[in-house]
Each structure stands twice: as structure tokens, then as C-alpha cells.
Chain length 353, copies 2
């Protein structure tokens, strides 16, 4: 146990020397333990422990050619959706013996390009990516590195490769259909930035639900420039300025919904008595708001698992073997107090009895 590691860290050569075997045998102990006689194996393992030997992944990769790492490149790790995807991806990756390297492109195409270049250099085994550059040029460039990738939650027009999506059109439709079923006829959509495909999809779903309901139902679209709590407050203000107040609001995400709740509350508008709210993403804090929010839940973890599994399969498959797939998950409506059937007459209490 005398730590003689004064100079530099030990390599397989040192281990072999100490254990009195050849380097090849050490490699076998590491990669094919069964092919080594128990006694030898024990001696080698003891040597490894004594020297604190850590095998160099770079050398391994250099020779063996395949890395043990998947990457997840998210638009914004602060978004709970990506955390869910990450959890799922890590779970699936671990099951296959891989690790997950996480990066955040901060929704910037330039950062994304930098990060992808870095991942290509690292020779990661595959990438789960929600592209910031929707034109697809960054990805096309990346494809030259011949590293498989799976598109998560973003459809790219001419994109080739697997995709795992959540049906936001259906989510939007669900939310608005729920409001219509609860008796609301004048409904607002407090969108996030409509440049973002997700808020456009939800809008499309909202419109289709309104169309399906036939005449008598109208949709007021309140576009936003951000998708946070303050955007929700702004939307509330704009909504309160309308000639006729909608009785139901569908918010582009839960943060917007929380801001909306705050804005309405401050103006003395009771939720859900006067206005019902439906959010999107089903955040814990939204469920725990003063008036718990009805919301649309996206199966983030399942998305992550599915995407990672596809990647594992694709990266293991022979060149022509793999056929690109497109998986679409359905979101789910979670009903809570903020949209309890109404609007009810009278009661001053913002609490459902």
C-alpha cells in the first residue's frame, strides 16, 4: 500500500509489471475476465487496486473505436421538460452501459454548432438533440461526422434521422377542448413567442378544437415575446383590457399560467370562478399554486428513454441496417382546481368549495 505514485498516474504497463504478467493479460482482466485464470485475475486486480490504476478512455476509444457516451444537447436545461428527458435518457443509457454527456445550447445556433463540433471531436456514440438551428444546416454539417442523432421534440422539415416528438397540436386541442367542455365560449390563448414551433403547434391545436366545437366559440390569441411568469402577467393585463373578458384561458406553458393567475388575482378576478386557466407542462409548482393549475403533461421521461434506446440501437447497428423512425408521444390532461367546471355565478371565494 505504499503510494509510490510520485510522478504520474499508472498505466496498464505498470499494472502488468507489478502483477508479473503481460499487458495483454491485464487488458483481458479488464475486458474479458472469464478468459483469465482466477489466480492471475486476482493478482492483476490487486495490482490495479494498489496502483489506483484508471484505464484511459481516450486510449481505449482510439484503439477500440467506439465510445461509451451518449450526449444530450438541450435548448435550455432550466426547462423542466429537458430535465425529464435527461433523467429518462440517463436511465436508458445506464442500462446499456453508457454515460450521458449533457450540454445546453441556450437556444443559440452558434453555441449549438460549437457544442456539436465538440461532441464530434469526442466521438460520442450518439446525440439526442433539440436543434436551435431549425434550418437544419448545422445538423447537416454534423451528419458528416457520421454520428447518429435523434431529434427530440423538434421536427425539422427536410431532416433525416430519427425523431421523438410530443404531439403539441393534440396538447393544445386537449386543453381548449377541456375548456369548451366546461362551458366556456370565449377563450384566450396566452401564447409564448410564436416563432417557436411549440407555441405554434399548440395554437394550431387550439384552433382545431374551436373549429370542432362549431359556431359560438371564439378564440382570442395573445402572442408573447417570452414564456415566463412576467409574460403571463403581461398577458393578463392585455386580457383585462379586452372589451369582453374571456372566461377561459389556455396558457402556452405553466409559467405563463402562473403569471396569468397572479395578474388576475391582483385585479380581483377569481380563478376559476370568473376565469378558468389551463397551463402546459404540469410543473410541480403549478400543481402547488394557490389555485392548483390544470395542465397538459408531456411524458418527458418516456421521451428520453425512447430517444436513448433508439440511439443505442442505431449506434450498434451495421451501416445500412438501421431505418429511421419517428415516434410521437401523446400528452395528457391533468385537471385541477384552476379549471373546475364553471363559470359559476356568485361566489366570492377563489377556493373551490
Amino acid at each position: 500500500m505504499q503510494g509510490a505514485c510520485v510522478t504520474k498516474s499508472a498505466g496498464m504497463r505498470d499494472v502488468a509489471l507489478l502483477a508479473g504478467v503481460s499487458v495483454g493479460t491485464v487488458s483481458n482482466v479488464l475486458n474479458r475476465p472469464d478468459a483469465v485464470a482466477p489466480g492471475t485475475r486476482a493478482r492483476v486486480q490487486a495490482a490495479i487496486a494498489e496502483l489506483g490504476f484508471v484505464r484511459s478512455e481516450s486510449a481505449r476509444l482510439l484503439r477500440a473505436g467506439s465510445s461509451q457516451v451518449l450526449a444530450l444537447l438541450a435548448l435550455d436545461l432550466a426547462e423542466p421538460f429537458f430535465i425529464g428527458v435527461l433523467r429518462g435518457a440517463e436511465q436508458a443509457a445506464r442500462a446499456a452501459g453508457f454515460g450521458v454527456l449533457v450540454m445546453d445550447s441556450a437556444s443559440s445556433a452558434a453555441t449549438e454548432a460549437t457544442h456539436l463540433a465538440m461532441l464530434a471531436q469526442q466521438r460520442v456514440r450518439g446525440v439526442l438533440v433539440t436543434p436551435a438551428d431549425v434550418s437544419g444546416t448545422t445538423l447537416a454539417e454534423f451528419a458528416r461526422a457520421r454520428i447518429p442523432y435523434v431529434l427530440v421534440d423538434r421536427d425539422i422539415p427536410g431532416g433525416i434521422g430519427c425523431q421523438v416528438l410530443v404531439d403539441d397540436v393534440a396538447g393544445g386541442a386537449m386543453a381548449v377542448a377541456h375548456l369548451i367542455a366546461a362551458g366556456h365560449r370565449r377563450i384566450a390563448y396566452a401564447a409564448g413567442p410564436l416563432e417557436s414551433p411549440q407555441y405554434r403547434d399548440r395554437l394550431e391545436g387550439a384552433r382545431s378544437a374551436v373549429a370542432e366545437a362549431g359556431r359560438g366559440v371564439e378564440l382570442v390569441v395573445l402572442p408573447g415575446t417570452r414564456a415566463d411568469v412576467s409574460a403571463g402577467r403581461d398577458a393578463a393585463e392585455r386580457m383585462l383590457g379586452l372589451a369582453e373578458l374571456p372566461t377561459g384561458v389556455f396558457c402556452g406553458n405553466d409559467l405563463i399560467a402562473l403569471g396569468m393567475l397572479q395578474g388576475l388575482f391582483a385585479a380581483g378576478v377569481a380563478v376559476p370562478r370568473d376565469v378558468a386557466i389551463v397551463g402546459y407542462d404540469d410543473l410541480e409548482v403549478a400543481a402547488g399554486a394557490v389555485v392548483p393549475l390544470t395542465s397538459i403533461r408531456r411524458p418527458a421521461t418516456r421521451v428520453g428513454i425512447a430517444a436513448a434506446e433508439i440511439l443505442v440501437e442505431e449506434s450498434g447497428a451495421a451501416a445500412g441496417q438501421h431505418v429511421h423512425r419517428e415516434l410521437v408521444f401523446q400528452p395528457e390532461l391533468v385537471v385541477r382546481a384552476s379549471s373546475l367546471p364553471g363559470p359559476r355565478p356568485g361566489l366570492p371565494s377563489p377556493r373551490p368549495s
Copy 2:
């Protein structure tokens, strides 16, 4: 431009061949462009572009010895604090030309050990880690790999290495001192799990503030088993069951505070009129709650920047050159509606004068 990459990806050899130079020159173009004649450089770069050559980081690392990657090993990426640290770390790392590899130990010592082993194999340049294994054995084991690390937001007793901390004792003291200054005499601390050092530190701070205020101020501790919204609701319930209702509550974090707000609201207790609330972490959603929360803000981004900078310095320093440091950041009180000075007279607020 004819893509002749049918078999495998191009190496420096191929580039050299196409450009009509030696491999060494290609390496120079990549690493020391100024040492190469402009004409040659252009030819090589053209060849690189044409072949879609991506330099192999593993081979580079194998020969050159130093990687370009820092790692961040967080307890739980869903916690906004870590996202802030990540942002800061990435910013500082990028400035130094490095990337950041992110991992989540899910507060499990076993996962942490696995992840650290993986990072050691990857020969990352340094690790920012908030240890799940507070005994320090996992870290001691990791230290054998001679990879520098910085402890983030967790003090380890016998720990050697740099540390970047936030003074949670001061934070707790700040929160409670604020409540005392607002006239509250009976104060509750809705803690998270007290096994966790951060909630213990905040408790210690709370106690010291109470002690400093002298007689007449009392602190009721409500320990919890979790630190989420539902824990806050539970704490509210327990608090409402007390013989005498405290008029101020300090919550271990903002999620607990939101749950507390919901619980009090449901019971018809007005905030801040009847009870004032102070949270911890200054989440966006807490600031956007129906009653915007007063909270203690931790400078997460600055912690990340500082930690990454220390790591960059340490990983660049010669063996004995580096001296371990301990940096302590002070949190900051952000006052909002939930603790507006009160309790106000005239209303039925049960408190001893």
C-alpha cells in the same frame, strides 16, 4: 467535392495526402496556424473542409495529455441552484477554451462513485462537485486519479481541495432577522430534511438571529422529510395545529414556501396580513406567486464562475504551485409582498404584544 467517404471517416493522414503535405504540417495548421506558410495553410484547410475531417479528441488527448473538458457533478439538476452554477461554469469554461460535461448524481453516493469513475477514465481536466457522499471516502478514492476538483456548496470535514460555498448560516440569519425587524416575535422555521447540511445551516442561522434579538422572540422548528411543495403544505398544516400560530415563517426553500402559502391560503390565513413568509433561493416562480415571495437569493452563477476559474487555474498550475482556497459567497435578501411589514393592527392576528 465528390464525397468519397464510403468507408470510414478521414484522419490527418488523408488530409495530408490530399493537400500534398506531411502529417506534421496538418497538425501545425490545426495547432499553430502561424507557423505555416499562408499558401500551404489554405491548401490544408481546403482539404479539411472537403473531407469533412474532424480531429479525434481521444488521440489528441492521448498524446498531448491534457483534455479540454471540465465536469460538473450535481446533486440534482432539477434544482435551479445547480442550473445557475452550470451557467456560470460554462461561461467561465468557455472563456478558457473548455467545455463542460454535466452529470447528475441524484444525491446517491453509488451513482456519484460511478460517475466519478467515468470522469476519471475520460481524463477530464477537473470536476466541480457537490458530493452526495459527505463522508468523503468517494472523493478520497477519486483523488487518487489526481484530477483536481472543487467542492461546490458542500463543506466536507476532512476534505482537502478548494471549496466554493454560500454562507447558508448567514442566509438563515438574514431571513429571520428580517422577520424580527418586521415585528414578528413568534417565528416558525419550516425546514427541509435536517439531515441535509444546508437546512441545518439555515437553522443555525435562524437560531443565532433569534438569540441576538434577545428574549421575547421564539423559534418553532418544523422539520420535514422532503423539500418540495407538498412538504410546505404539510408544514402549514402542522403549523396551523399549534396552540399559538406563529406570525412569521421562514421556509427552507421556495418550494416549501409556495406549499406553505397554498396551505395557509386554503385555511383562510392571509399572507402577509396574518402570517409573513420568507423563502430561500429566489426562484422565478416564487417571485411570481399570487403573493410574491420574499426570499434569500444565492449567487449561483457567480459560484459557478468562481469554481470553474479556480479549476482552470489549478489544472494549469504545476504540481506544487496550487494552494487550496475556500471561497464563501454571501446570500442576499430580496423583499417582496409576502413579508411586508406587519402584522398590522386591527385585524384578528393572534400574537402576544
